[in-house]
């Protein structure tokens, strides 16, 4: 049975001060898909995510399904570190706004392994990893069926990163959550993504990881030789 797309993008164009960042991009995602967006710095990955969420002006069409509930984990938050705001207060504010029961805060905190002492800490004094976990918990509140990640595990150690991606993969499998993630870690992209979208100065390309993440394609995309992309060699070895 063919399900309706959760998002349909047609002819998307985004520009800043006369400079075109995204040109004529079209794609659609079905529920449960995992789309990874890759590309060199400055190619428009975060711009694309923000446009999808309506945070930036754009030309073209972005149509979300009526049932789409978005969760967003940004790459960074320019929040005032002196803010007298604890993690728990931030989560509870969102829970109240979405009219969620108080137990939801506890549930999402448990899902991302946020310790009670971290919940009661000010956002400004958290370590990078704790801060990102708080953002992920924030995104999971309200049971989104689409989660947009902008390099959310950049501050994590390898074990925690594995846990977070395993959690997301489980959410995708169990609840059919659609994932749209930006990641520089191509091994993560290769393992978890169904579809890869490459943004670069030229025309964007899109397809399954095996087709897109070839050494030749990556060399063209990043202007770097394929020897850095160990996962390709690892996968190709018997």
């Amino acid at each position: 049975m063919v399900t309706d797309p959760v998002v349909k993008v047609s002819g998307l164009k985004v520009g800043f001060q006369g400079r075109s960042v995204i040109r004529d991009l079209s794609f659609e995602l079905r529920p449960g898909d995992c789309l990874a967006i890759i590309g060199p710095n400055g190619c428009g990955k975060t711009t694309l995510l923000k446009s999808l969420m309506g945070l930036l002006p754009f030309e073209g069409q972005i149509r979300w399904s009526r049932e789409a509930r978005l969760g967003y984990v940004p790459q960074r938050v320019a929040a005032d570190l002196q803010l007298p705001l604890r993690v728990k207060e931030l989560l509870e504010a969102k829970a109240r706004l979405l009219k969620l029961p108080a137990a939801e805060v506890e549930r999402v905190s448990h899902e991302v392994d946020l310790a009670p002492e971290v919940l009661n800490s000010r956002m400004g004094i958290l370590s990078g990893g704790q801060f990102q976990k708080a953002l992920i918990a924030f995104a999971l509140l309200g049971s989104p069926n689409v989660i947009l990640f902008d390099e959310p595990t950049a501050s994590f150690d390898e074990l925690t990163e594995e846990r977070i991606y395993a959690l997301l993969h489980a959410l995708q499998g169990e609840k059919g959550i659609t994932l749209i993630l930006v990641s520089h870690d191509l091994s993560v992209v290769y393992r978890y993504a169904d579809t890869v979208l490459c943004l670069s100065k030229g025309k964007p390309c899109m397809g399954p990881p095996k087709e897109i993440l070839t050494p030749e394609a990556l060399e063209e995309l990043y202007s770097a030789p394929p020897k850095y992309y160990q996962h390709i060699q690892d996968r190709s070895e018997p």
Binding site: K50, G54, Y72, L83, P84, L85, E89, A93, M123, G142
Partner: protein, 261 residues
Amino acid sequence: MDNSQSYGLALALVFALTAGFVGCFALMRRMLLASDVISHLALPGLGIAFLLKVNPLAGGAATLFLGTILIWKLQGRAGLATEAAIGVVFAAALAVGAAVTPREDLVEALFGALPKLSLGGFLLGLAAVASVIVGILWLKDRLILTLFSPDLAAVTGVKVSRLELCFLLLFSLLILAGLRFMGALLASALIIIPASTARQLTGNMASFLWISPLVSLLSVLVGYGVAIAVLKTSTVAPTIVVVSAAAFGASLVGKRTSGSN
């Protein structure tokens, strides 16, 4: 003290509590200086109202709210030119107000005077202040999300620009309620200083939201007492602000001594 003076003092105390509460959000939103600009916007309207011998609050309200919308529109744009424009609006409002206000009314327009209110005037002022409190409480969770991250708030469904306008208008309504006794120059002081004091004393939001109103209330009580009983003046605002600033100074000393955050 007769009834009209009692009503004036009662409204001043209610204003103080509300100003301390709203000041917490203004400080977290880093708009304390903008709040100073907003209070000055009332001055041209006050001056014109004095000239035309109509209710000064009506004139003050007109320029206050129109100016607030102008500031909101300017803040929507980023860049140095916008900050310069806000600076021009602030300076121009102060200059125009000072120029048009009759000399005999200028001190009262700038620094206020403890108003003698009828019961109707008191109830109207009380309604204005109550509207601000109800409005801020209604918007509290949206404000918290937006001051942490406007992007995350927008994805959660908060209309960030509209929220900004609502907050600015509630802020202006609060300034209006305090205009008669604090004056256009000092009306924002009870919003700025107690919140800054409270922030020195606590890093916890729940505590922050009650310490600031308490400091504001005590500033008015002590300042009023000193102005009336010692200085024998009905221009109470400067004394209130001095007391409030002294409290801030004490909080800095206390913080340095304890080494707390």
